[in-house]
């Protein structure tokens, strides 16, 4: 009998290694620049680093300090307000526009890109435009006054209590069109025969959407939530361009807090601690989603 114990020939062995070699630069970059850096930042958050990194551990002092800072609390509160409003309003507007656009609308091809184009802009450009548009001196308020509506008042951007909402407005303007596109894709993916069946069953339009269509959009809702939530936590540019964190520190978010504490106030340890908390927030949102996503396609 022939001896079958012989191993693979050289070429087959090489073929087995090439894919891993090709993948390795990206994996190495990822391990160093993402996960290595995360570990490094986590470590720094337990040190007394000021302007430059120091490596003596001081325990959880930075976290204690962080949660004792009123600025940080402002940032966290702002993020809660901003994120919840941003997600809810984007979802509502996106879903509404998608459903309305899905009614055999003439000119859909024109309207869709109009809703969507802000997504192509940089947050800095969006911020520049809205900053001015909302400025009471020359923007909307001034225009209304010139058009004869003297009592019109819209000075949120200058108001410590209201400024955070202007960020919501600009952010919604930028992203809601994209959410619309996601829902529209979801709607177009629903089998028409199910809708016909529901109509034959006697469902009114309203019932059709509430009972059949919207529940079937569950995956789109989930995707929209994940995308919006992670964008909200990462929001930085828009605040910088629109309000610069002001008036005062009224529109500070964790992202801007981290930057200013680390690089302008030279409190690197505290800055690192705030970054770790941001990461944990994102991880809490993304992990279950990624897990489900990767498990589905083994």
């Amino acid at each position: 009998m022939a001896n079958y114990a012989s191993g693979a020939d050289f070429r087959t062995k090489l073929q087995g290694w090439i894919p891993k070699l090709v993948l390795s630069p990206s994996i190495a970059m990822m391990l160093v620049f993402v996960y290595g850096f995360i570990i490094y930042t986590v470590y720094l958050s337990f040190t007394n680093s000021k302007m430059l990194p120091k490596y003596d551990l001081i325990g959880i002092d930075n976290y204690v300090r962080l949660w004792g800072l009123s600025t940080w609390w402002t940032a966290v509160t702002n993020l809660a307000i901003f994120a919840s409003l941003y997600i809810i309003i984007c979802t509502v507007i996106g879903l509404t526009l998608a459903i309305l656009l899905d009614q055999k609308i003439r000119g859909e091809g024109m309207l869709r890109p109009i809703y969507l184009y802000p997504m192509a802009l940089s947050f800095i450009v969006t911020g520049t435009a809205w900053k001015w548009f909302l400025d009471p001196g020359i923007g909307l308020e001034n225009t209304m006054h010139l058009w004869g509506w003297e009592s019109f008042e819209f000075n949120w951007i200058k108001d410590r209590n209201m400024a955070i909402y202007t960020i919501v407005i600009a952010a919604v303007w930028q992203t809601s069109g994209f959410v619309m596109a996601m829902f529209l894709a979801g709607l177009r993916g629903i089998d028409n025969e199910i809708l016909k069946a529901a109509q034959i069953d006697g469902a009114s339009n309203w019932q059709l959407y509430r009972r059949i269509v919207i529940p079937m959009l569950r995956p789109a809702f989930l995707s929209a939530f994940v995308i919006l939530a992670h964008l909200a936590v990462k929001s930085y540019d828009l605040v910088i361009a629109l309000t610069g964190g002001g008036p005062g520190r009224a529109t500070e978010l964790p992202a801007t807090f981290m930057y200013s504490y680390t690089f302008t106030r030279n409190q690197m340890g505290t800055g690192a601690a705030s970054a770790v908390i941001m990461l944990m927030t994102i991880a809490a949102i993304m992990m279950p989603y990624l897990y489900a996503e990767l498990k589905e396609k083994p």
């Binding site: 009998m1 022939a2 001896n3 079958y4 012989s6 693979a8 020939d9 070429r11 087959t12």
Partner: protein, 370 residues
């Protein structure tokens, strides 16, 4: 030792063994069909022959050369895939000669080989088209052409007809058979369709649960299935299996079954060795064509037993009429001539060709007789 030798081959994924000690020796020019339900391991075995999956233990050799660990392209094989796997960005001609190009065959020779095969398959007019512009049948031809150009030692077919519609499938089946008869190539062909297996093969390996259940010519497989699985998997409609008791009447073994009315009927066995089973329970296998109307019964048979039973359902199928009746408390199907005088609900004389009966051990499910 065969031309293609599969000896004691096993495949495991982790701790799970999916293919158990397969031994098949294929001679040159044979058409071997691996048939079985999905998940039986037939495609895994084919991929192991192709070198697309590793062999866990045992060995595969072609023309006496051990193939374990040899790269697929170095085995001198060609494969036709279920989805045809035509490269969408290349023309038909480029698709067919890609393998030759990769093996460093010079352009003039490639063109010559291409022209020959294109002529053989009558696809000369398609050579400059892209796969996307072809019909299903044309793609199937191109996929075969790509395999033929290589002039391999062994052709591997992985369910090549299952993406075609019913009529085209029958046409292509005939064409593959003609091609094999003309070229006398060695073919290993995987399918789940037992009719394809019967019509095409010179030998069939029926597989289930990672075991080769039976290896034999189509006739052997059909007439003497080695166990219940093979008996019921091969043939359409499937072989009727009914419980019976062996009893001796005047020294001759008979099968005692209950008819639809609950009475006992005795059918004489043709197989003498059934005497050994006197008094025991067995499973009686009767193919639908061995259960028919008396006029349609096989005239050469020396053991036709007629029994009267109630007709439950009739299904005229054009050439034949299928009649369902109840025997041994199970629904059995009889195949009758199209114009048999049969109506549902009536009593009818069924002719059982006991010469063709197959008997199984109810415990081991193995064949006892013939």
């Amino acid at each position: 030792m065969g031309f293609l030798d599969i000896s004691n081959v096993t495949k495991s994924y982790g701790n799970i063994e999916v293919l158990h000690h397969v031994d098949i020796a294929v001679d040159e020019g044979e058409f071997l069909v691996l048939v079985g339900p999905s998940g039986c391991g037939k495609s895994t075995l084919l991929n192991m022959i192709a070198g697309l999956e590793d062999i866990t233990s045992g060995g595969i050799s072609i023309k006496g050369r051990v193939m374990n660990g040899v790269h697929p392209s170095k085995r001198n094989i060609a494969m036709v895939f279920q989805s045809y796997a035509l490269y969408p960005n290349m023309t038909v001609g480029q698709n067919m000669t890609f393998g030759l190009e990769m093996h460093g065959v010079a352009k003039p020779e490639r063109d010559k080989a291409l022209a020959d095969v294109a002529k053989l398959l009558q696809i000369e007019q398609l050579l400059d088209r892209k796969p996307g512009q072809l019909s299903g049948g044309q793609r199937q031809r191109v996929a075969m052409g790509r395999a033929l150009v290589r002039e391999p030692d062994v052709f591997l077919f992985d369910e090549p007809l299952s993406n075609l519609d019913a009529k085209l499938r029958v046409d292509m089946r005939t064409e593959i058979k003609k091609l094999h008869e003309k070229l006398k190539t060695t073919i290993v062909y995987v399918t789940h369709d037992q009719i394809e297996a019967m019509t095409l093969s010179t030998r069939i390996a029926v597989m289930n649960d990672g075991y080769v259940q039976q290896l034999g010519t189509p006739k052997e497989i059909y007439d003497t299935p080695s166990n219940l699985f093979v008996a019921t998997f091969m043939g359409s409609p499937a072989m009727n299996i009914l419980p019976a008791k062996v009893s001796m009447i005047e020294g001759v073994p008979h099968a005692e079954i209950t008819n639809g009315a609950g009475q006992t009927a005795s059918l004489r066995f043709s197989q003498a060795n059934m005497a050994d089973w006197a008094g025991k329970e067995v499973l009686l296998g009767i193919r639908p064509e061995a259960l028919t109307d008396p006029e349609g019964a096989d005239r050469k048979s020396r053991n036709i037993v007629t029994l009267q039973n109630a007709v439950d359902v009739i299904e005229p199928a054009g050439a034949d009429t299928f009649v369902t009746t109840t025997l041994g408390d199970v629904a059995v199907i009889a195949r009758m001539r199209a114009d048999s005088d049969v109506a549902s609900g009536q009593m009818f004389d069924f002719a059982v060709n006991m010469e063709k009966a197959v008997v199984f051990n109810p415990k081991t499910e193995k064949r006892i007789a013939p």
